[in-house]
């Protein structure tokens, strides 16, 4: 390909030379040729600049349209009612637009998804970048991309058709299994504590003390877990489409985002930091925990923010799997009750976005969209700023 273009350039220059040799004053033609070229290149550049500006204008258009129509809502209705009241009755007469419960629903589902996805995501990213052998990485990375590529409506379908009946019919069982799953990392934690405390408290009879303390802690843990799971086994979840369902599936959806961006951040640190730490005698875990992760923390933070952004903006999964009940659960962190999110409300009521009757119904959706835009925008800016700082730090050093 390079040789072809070289030939083209040669031919071009050849023709140019022939053209020049056939003419009277080289000087004038050079200038005309030059102006010709300059004009076209200017035209081309302006065209490109125009196209780029149009691409960028798209987002300004979106902001303008959404904010314009939402301001009409805020002019006519009380802002405090919108944000703090939980009475959502848009079609009644007189209509009430209290979206407080809906904001809380969005927050709850996002918090649940993050609580679940952030630890697992960061651990997986660390594992991918530092612990797993290269062959395992080759397999795992495409798998993560597959998880990222699955459309959200397929996740929603899965949540509705497989997970909701499961929670409904066997909610207690599922929860008790989950409790046992949590037990495994806890056991490891207790092992470490046992070791450390045996060392501090009984330096003489270390092994025996270690055995006894660890054994006691783990036994205690098993007992607690067993009784808990026995109780929970009989627990009945009244509604399979609830905040837990939506949070769980949302968590799985944002895992690939967190993992891939964190892994990029971890990779970009470079080997010197790690090698230095190993050279000083640190174990791999200590290197990772005390050196690598803190060094990559801006990148990881940025990954987490991107994950939050994705969870807040997700529509289909929450529309299908969260129950759509505009009510703050009781107590407010009860994940087993249905909730409603901003995105599901917009999608469900979107047909009202016509200029015909209830103008406030139309504008309240834009008000919600405006809030979502502002939240995503600020999260985006925060993430970009953090990335820029990292780049400066890395290149500055």
């Amino acid at each position: 390909m390079a040789s072809e273009s070289m030939n083209e350039i040669e031919r071009f220059q050849d023709g140019n030379a022939r053209f020049l040799s056939h003419n009277k004053t080289t000087f004038q033609i050079d200038r005309r040729e030059e102006l010709h070229n300059k004009f076209f290149s200017f035209l081309g550049r302006s065209f490109l600049l125009g196209v780029t500006t149009i691409s960028s204008l798209a987002v300004l258009f979106i902001f303008f349209f959404i904010l314009r129509d939402s301001i009409l809502f805020f002019q006519q209705r009380d802002i405090r009612e919108f944000f703090f009241s939980t009475q959502w009755f848009p079609s009644r007469d007189p209509s009430e637009f209290g979206a407080g419960a809906i904001f809380w629903g969005s927050f709850l589902v996002t918090a649940g998804a993050c609580a679940f996805a952030i630890p697992i995501g960061i651990m997986t990213a660390v594992c991918l970048s530092d612990i797993l052998p290269f062959s395992a990485r080759q397999i795992l990375k495409p798998l993560i991309e597959i998880l990222a590529a699955i459309p959200s409506v397929a996740y929603g379908f899965f949540a509705l058709v497989v997970i909701a009946p499961l929670l409904q019919e066997r909610g207690g069982q599922v929860l008790s299994y989950l409790i046992w799953l949590l037990g495994a990392p806890l056991a490891i934690f207790f092992l470490i504590i046992g070791e450390m405390s045996a060392d501090k408290l009984f330096p003489k009879a270390k092994t025996a003390a270690n055995f006894i303390i660890t054994g006691a802690l783990i036994l205690l843990e098993f007992l607690v877990l067993y009784t808990l799971s026995r109780h929970i086994f009989l627990f009945k979840i009244s509604s399979g489409t609830n905040a837990l369902n939506a949070s769980f599936i949302l968590g799985i959806m944002i895992l690939p985002t967190i993992v891939s961006v964190s892994e990029d951040a971890l990779q970009s640190i470079g080997r010197e930091l790690r090698e230095g730490s190993y050279a000083l005698g640190a174990t791999r875990a200590e290197t990772l925990l005390l050196v690598v992760i803190p060094a990559a923390s801006p990148g990881i933070l940025s990954a987490v923010i991107l994950g939050i952004m994705r969870a807040v903006g997700e529509t289909m999964v929450v529309w299908m799997a969260s129950g759509n009940s505009a009510k703050i659960p009781d107590p407010c962190f009860n994940f087993f009750e249905p909730i409603r999110t901003l995105t599901a409300t917009i999608a469900g009521d979107m047909g009202e976005a016509d200029h015909v009757s209830g103008s406030m119904r139309y504008h309240v959706l834009f008000a919600m969209a405006a809030c979502m835009l502002i939240i995503s925008f600020s999260l985006n800016i925060a993430s970009e700023w953090i990335m820029k700082r990292t780049r400066k730090k890395v290149t500055g050093e």
């Binding site: 697992i120 597959i146 799985i252």
Partner: protein, 448 residues
């Protein structure tokens, strides 16, 4: 902490890491396995004779003489059934009135279930709705319907502190002592002869239109609709995206204006998809009236906005990844910047750009929220090229939601829902695999 503790911590950390990665893998398996298994069930299944009858009537496919032979065989197995039914109906007046009432109610119920299994009885008028014209078309559905024929589902409400418990009462007990009693074991044993199931590979699932609200037929219009929407989005987004990327990498100076442009484009990538849908409805349809109402082109434009930032970003990365030597070589030979871009840079960056385009295609095919109110309907024909300005279209992503929640008989078309999800995931995954393969070739090529 002493050495042993540190080593333990190390091991523990490794195990935790492995557990997390293992969880990821298990999540993928749990997610995809039921969808794949049941989705393939929409393509490959045991089809009964009713299915072949339906195929011949509605789609004009199949061997008529073969079918006639099979119908004769099936009828020879069915005729004792109908004989017994006829005898029962004639003999029912011989019972005392209380018995008669109970028997005729049970019989009516039983007949309805039998009609669902075998189709309309011989001698009855053919109903108009296609779903009532034929019996069970899939063998797995036939078995479920057989169960409802043989057993009546009742609930035992005797325990006042709990909800009713389901019990399956055999219907033969209701007709004990009448001529229908030995019909039930006969039915159970001769099911295969009556329905003649055979394995079939329904490869036209992806091209057939749906008949009677997805009861029969395939998902052709939805697939074509998704293809149209995706291609339309690409047509609008790719030229703009590549030109923008070229400008941002080659021509722009690093001043405040460019960084604002960059920020704006990356903000676009953070906008939630439902806001795109709202904007598409409010702007493309209501303000500049790209079309009268929903249409393919409004949906494509909205989707194009959605994938624009991805294309810009991946094209930028691809162009930046081309080594400087390529550019300098071309420029040093006297090519103008534009010529250098067109003849050297773009071809070298092409695999990377293509990767970005293919991944965006996958994303556009799977998005639902932008097309809910700009392009999607629940029933319609696949649009033809000239209709894209005025006609809305069914699409895989929207119709999955529609069929899974709003349909009248959701349970009976589960296989169609799974088939749709399976097809959508296969389309998106194959696009992504293509992109991954391209990218690995690209990396190999640039590294020399």
């Amino acid at each position: 902490m002493n050495l042993a503790g540190r080593k333990l911590l190390d091991k523990a950390f490794t195990i935790l890491g492995m557990l997390s990665s293992g969880f990821l893998v298990i999540a993928i398996i749990i997610l995809l396995t039921p969808i794949f298994m049941k989705g393939i069930g929409a393509f490959v299944f045991r089809a009964t004779i009713e299915y072949r009858k339906m195929e011949l009537d509605l789609f004009e496919r199949g061997d008529r003489e073969e079918l006639e032979k099979e119908i004769k065989q099936a009828e020879s197995a069915r005729s004792p059934l109908f004989e017994k039914l006829k005898n029962f109906k004639e003999g029912i007046s011989n019972f005392p009135p209380a018995e008669k009432k109970r028997l005729s109610e049970s019989f009516h119920d039983f007949e309805m279930c039998l009609r669902e299994l075998l189709g309309p009885f011989p001698g009855e008028s053919v109903p108009e709705l296609p779903r009532n014209k034929y019996g069970a078309t899939r063998w797995d559905q036939a078995l479920i319907k057989l169960k409802s024929v043989l057993y009546k589902e009742e609930y035992d409400y005797t325990n006042p502190s709990k909800m009713g418990q389901k019990i399956m009462k055999p219907r033969s007990k209701e007709f004990a002592g009448t001529s229908l009693e030995n019909l039930f074991p006969y039915l159970e044993q001769n099911m295969e002869k009556i329905l003649q199931p055979k394995f079939v590979f329904y490869r036209q699932f992806l091209t057939d239109a749906s008949k009677d609200a997805h009861f029969f037929g395939g998902i052709g219009p939805e697939v074509i609709g998704t293809i149209y929407l995706t291609l339309g989005a690409i047509v609008f987004a790719v030229p703009m995206g590549i030109l923008t990327a070229i400008y941002l990498t080659e021509y722009s100076r690093q001043n405040w204006y460019t960084s604002i442009l960059r920020t704006l484009i990356s903000t676009l990538s953070g906008v939630p998809s439902v806001v795109f849908g709202l904007f598409g409805l409010a702007f493309f349809i209501n303000s500049i009236h790209v079309s009268q109402s929903k249409s393919v082109i409004a949906g494509s434009l909205t989707l194009a906005l959605l994938i624009l930032p991805t294309i810009v970003r991946s094209s930028e990365e691809a162009i930046l990844a081309v080594p400087k030597t390529y550019r300098e070589a071309a420029l040093s030979l006297g090519a103008s910047p534009w010529k250098m871009i067109v003849s050297v840079l773009l071809p070298a960056a092409l695999p990377g750009i293509l990767t970005g385009i293919i991944i965006s295609m996958g994303r556009a095919a799977g998005e639902t929220a932008p097309i809910i109110f700009t392009a999607a309907v629940s029933l319609g024909e696949a649009p033809k090229l000239l209709d894209i300005f005025s006609q809305p279209t069914p699409a895989l992503s929207w119709n999955i939601y529609n069929l899974a929640t709003e349909h009248q008989k959701v349970d009976q078309i589960r296989h169609v829902q799974y088939g749709m999800v399976f097809s959508l995931i296969m389309i998106v995954l194959s696009l992504n695999c293509l992109a991954i393969m391209l990218r690995s070739r690209f990396v190999k090529k640039l590294k020399g």
